[in-house]
Every structure is written in structure tokens, then in C-alpha cells.
């Protein structure tokens, strides 16, 4: 493909994926989380904003989505006078940019088989270091929170920022290590390859059960959700690192957070839940290994999204069920339990692979 085509397809795919899916999911999530938690807690949740006061199916949902979005747009773009102006603005920006960026390596649907030539239609950039790129981008988001916190010039923000930094970097190691088992088994860091591999053998969750649990834990910690929501622990730090944020700046932070949740769910689906694979259904491929697209592809994309929703649901359910850790417990859990366990998982996987080779 020519450079022009690459750019064109990049833009089209980006718009399709990011706007058609990611932003939609993240926005709906903000509402769905409130709804879900409400029903768990015997409440009804948001149900008052209608579209122009009209009631029709889902009108309350759409009303809330619209009003939420509009509200943050027209609120005062507030900048604390004592804050560091540019860093204060940069914080939310840096927080959301990686969240968008890491979608370039996530395959939504079937692409060419490993080793086969051809373009992946459901993937923006078919990088051979896909997951590595993802981690690289992901680690950037810690800067967003920390910079914003420091720039706010508030004690609470600072404490939240420090906690964010400490927590995210601590769990990043585990997060990375837990995928290593999957890479070992499937011999690639390309998510497309891993998904194909899972279709051929078994889903990652069965091959790496411990890895999956550890990944789940670490991913919740990475997305700063309860029981790992220390950076914004509202009963301790009011709102943690974004205490001094409001309007769109705040919304961008939480957007980044929600996109992060979706992204982590996508990675989990790719690595452990078989990606777009439907159990017991073979993906038809042509001779060169490129899938033959048809109605099955639509079903596969749908199942991919469905798996993500399930994973997101699980994350949410956990978030609204558990109390949160204390700082030292969190760090201990990360360094003294999860890290050694993932190392052990790695070793055991290697030995088993060696034994059964």
C-alpha cells in the first residue's frame, strides 16, 4: 500500500473505531455504570433527563448522555490561579491521548492468519510488537494523572498524584509479566496472531488461568477502579488527583479512564477470551490464509464486543462490591504477591511447555 492509502485508511479506521465504538462505549459506560450500580444497590439510577422532555424508549438514556456531554462542554473552563497553567491543561490531555492511541493495535475482527500476507481490515496498525506498543503507550497515562496532580498545587491532588504514580507503575510490571505466558504459548506479541492461536488450541483463560486472574487484578489496578481506587479515594482524598479539575478537563480525565477500562477489556478479550473467536466455529480462510469475510465476520465482531461487555461488566461489578485497599496493602499486594506470582506463573508455564513440547 502506498503511504497515501495508509494515511487514508488510518484516518477512516481511526474514526470508525474511536468514534464509532470507543467513544460511544466510554460515554455509554459512564451512564451504564451508574445504572448498574443503582440496580445493585436497589436504586433506579439516572432516569430523569429526557430528550426535549419527550418520553420514548431509551429516552432517559439518551437524555442523560446528551446532557452529560453538553454540560461538560458549556461549563466554566476553570483553571486554578495558583496552578501551573500549561501542566494543568496538559494533564488531562496526556491522560486521554494514550487511551485513544492504544486502540491502533487492537483487532476487532478476523485478520489474516499468522504468517499470511494481507491487510487486516479491523485493525489500524498491524504492528509486530503490538502488545509491546500498547504497554509503552499505556505507561504514558500515568504522566497525565501525576502532572495534573502536581500542577494543581493542592495537597489533596498531590497525594492523589503520588498514589497514582506509585500504584500504576507497581501494577504495570505485573500486567506486563502476566501476558508473557500468553506470548510464550502463542509465540507472538501480535494480538491477531494470539487470537488465531487461541482458535487453534484453546482460549488463554484455560491455558493461563492464574495469568488471567492476575491480569484481571492488575488491570483493575491500572484503571484505578475499586478496590484499587486509591488515587481518587473519595473518602480520603476528596477526589484525588483531579480534585482541582472541572468541566471538560475533568471530563477528559474520566473519559481517559473509561476508555482505559474498555481498552483493558479489549486486551483481556484478545489474550484470554479468544478475541473474536466463536467457540466451535471455524473461521473460513482462503488459500493464502486471509479470512473470507461474510456474515460470520459480523457475528465475530459482535461476539468480540460482547466479550468485552462481559469483561467490563465484571470489572464494574467488582468495583461496586468491594471496599478498597490501603496504600501499603496495595503496594504489598503488587510487589510481594502479584509480582512473585506472575514470575512463578512464567516459570511454571515455561517448564510445562518444555515438558510437553
Amino acid at each position: 500500500m502506498s503511504v497515501g492509502e495508509l494515511i487514508l485508511f488510518g484516518i477512516i479506521k481511526f474514526i470508525a473505531i474511536v468514534f464509532g465504538w470507543v467513544m460511544l462505549v466510554a460515554t455509554v459506560l459512564t451512564l451504564m455504570e451508574r445504572k448498574q450500580s443503582a440496580f445493585m444497590q436497589n436504586r433506579v439510577g439516572p432516569n430523569r433527563a429526557f430528550v426535549f422532555g419527550k418520553k420514548f424508549p431509551l429516552s432517559a438514556f439518551i437524555g442523560h448522555l446528551l446532557s452529560d456531554a453538553l454540560k461538560v462542554l458549556v461549563k466554566e473552563d476553570f483553571e486554578p490561579p495558583r496552578a501551573n497553567k500549561w501542566l494543568h491543561l496538559l494533564g488531562p490531555g496526556i491522560a486521554v491521548i494514550p487511551a485513544w492511541l492504544l486502540w491502533v493495535v487492537i483487532p476487532f475482527g478476523p485478520g489474516p492468519m499468522p504468517g499470511a500476507e494481507g491487510d487486516h481490515p479491523f485493525l489500524i496498525a498491524n504492528l509486530n510488537v503490538g502488545v509491546l506498543f500498547m504497554f509503552a503507550v499505556m505507561s504514558l497515562s500515568v504522566y497525565g494523572a501525576t502532572l495534573g496532580a502536581w500542577a494543581s498545587n493542592s495537597a489533596y491532588s498531590l497525594l492523589g498524584g503520588l498514589r497514582t504514580a506509585a500504584q500504576m507503575i507497581s501494577y504495570e510490571v505485573t500486567l506486563g509479566l502476566n501476558l508473557v505466558g500468553v506470548f510464550m504459548i502463542f509465540g507472538s506479541t501480535r494480538l491477531n496472531d494470539i487470537i488465531w492461536g487461541q482458535g487453534q488450541s484453546a482460549w488463554g483463560i484455560f491455558l493461563q488461568p492464574v495469568g488471567f486472574v492476575l491480569f484481571l487484578v492488575a488491570s483493575i489496578a491500572e484503571t484505578k477502579r475499586a478496590p484499587f481506587d486509591l488515587p481518587e479515594a473519595e473518602s480520603e482524598l476528596a477526589a484525588g488527583y483531579f480534585t482541582e479539575y472541572s468541566s471538560m478537563r475533568f471530563a477528559v480525565y474520566s473519559l481517559g479512564e473509561f476508555i482505559g477500562i474498555v481498552a483493558v477489556a479489549a486486551v483481556a478479550v484478545c489474550c484470554f477470551l479468544g478475541g473474536w473467536q466463536i467457540p466451535w466455529v471455524e473461521t473460513p480462510v482462503d488459500a493464502s490464509g486471509v479470512p473470507i469475510y461474510g456474515w460470520l465476520t459480523v457475528a465475530q465482531i459482535a461476539i468480540f464486543l460482547f466479550k468485552m461487555v462481559i469483561f467490563i461488566w465484571l470489572q464494574m461489578q467488582i468495583r461496586w462490591t468491594l471496599p478498597r485497599f490501603r496504600y501499603d496493602q496495595l503496594m504489598k499486594l503488587g510487589w510481594l504477591y502479584l509480582l512473585p506470582l506472575s514470575l512463578l506463573n512464567l516459570v511454571v508455564t515455561a517448564i510445562i511447555m518444555y515438558a510437553v513440547r
Partner: protein, 171 residues
């Protein structure tokens, strides 16, 4: 009567691994989620303006002034309510009615609902069954302080005939 020591549970190894308890907790919340999504049986939220909670008979709501036989104000401005009021929210100006049956009546009767603490002492203190708090209506918000000072006319709108005989006039 005895003293019992509360037993601190010894966490089992499995519980120390977090997972069983997390699953148990998830089971509880998921149960509620499913139940509420499909049956709404446990939902306690009331959709307020459309769906109103029935107040019990004894509920102390907004005040009302009762009527005498001619639908006039029953109150004789004895000021016991404003005396008993711990918040000093009742302001009465008494006047001469020039009437043979009751000489005295409230020229103005104002209750400042923002000051009122709804303790019910005024209805308890009223010797004529003139003020009551059993309207079954809670105080409503408004956009000005002045609207929260409710006056005789408003208080009488909620009124009713009282079965008690008029105070201030012996048999």
C-alpha cells in the same frame, strides 16, 4: 443478661486469597442486580413527583388552621403556639373581632416555614384545636424567602371543621 465476646473470624487460607469472598460478594450484588433488572422487586427508590409516599397519620407536615362553624378562622390568637414554639417561627397579631361569641381573632397569622422545625409543639399547645400539622403535606421549596412565610389565608385553605368545641367559651 450476660456478656458475650464477639468472635473475630479466623480467615481460612482460601479467604486469605481474597477470591472466595470476592465471589461471594459478587454473588450478592449480582443477585440484586439481576433481581432488580428483571423484577424491580427490591427497588426502594420512589419516583417522587409522580409517585408519592403515603405519609402516616401522625406525620407532622405543613400547618393548617381549622375553621369554626362559619368557616372563619378558629384561632383566637391566644399565642400559646408562638410561646411553645422553640424556634419562634409563629407571628400573630391579635385583634378585636367585635363579635359576641369570640372577642379575639388573629389579624395576621404568619408561620415562617424556613424557621419552623416541625416539632409539633404548636398543635400540642393549641387550646382551641385551631392549628394542626396533619395536612399530610411536606413543606415545599420555593424561590424566595417570602414565599416561605405562609399567612392566614394559605393556612386556612387546608383547613377543616373541627369536632372539638371552641375554646374560649365555656358551656
Amino acid at each position: 443478661m450476660a456478656t458475650i465476646h464477639v468472635k473475630r473470624p479466623e480467615l481460612t487460607f482460601a479467604e486469605k486469597l481474597y477470591i472466595p469472598e470476592v465471589v461471594k460478594g459478587l454473588a450478592v450484588t449480582t443477585r440484586q442486580l439481576v433481581k432488580n433488572v428483571f423484577t424491580r422487586k427490591d427497588i426502594t427508590t420512589r419516583q417522587y413527583p409522580e409517585e408519592k409516599r403515603p405519609y402516616p397519620d401522625r406525620f407532622r407536615g405543613r400547618h393548617r388552621l381549622m375553621w369554626d362553624d362559619d368557616k372563619n378562622v378558629r384561632c383566637v390568637a391566644c399565642m400559646l403556639c408562638s410561646t411553645a414554639c422553640p424556634a419562634n417561627c409563629i407571628h400573630i397579631v391579635a385583634g378585636d373581632r367585635g363579635d359576641d361569641k369570640v372577642e379575639k381573632y388573629p389579624v395576621s397569622f404568619e408561620i415562617d416555614l424556613l424557621v419552623c422545625i416541625y416539632c409539633g409543639f404548636c398543635e400540642e399547645a393549641c387550646p382551641c384545636d385551631a392549628i394542626r400539622m396533619d395536612s399530610g403535606k411536606h413543606p415545599l421549596p420555593s424561590f424566595s424567602r417570602d414565599k416561605q412565610r405562609i399567612r392566614k389565608v394559605q393556612l386556612l385553605e387546608e383547613g377543616d371543621f373541627s369536632i372539638a368545641r371552641r375554646g374560649g367559651r365555656g358551656t
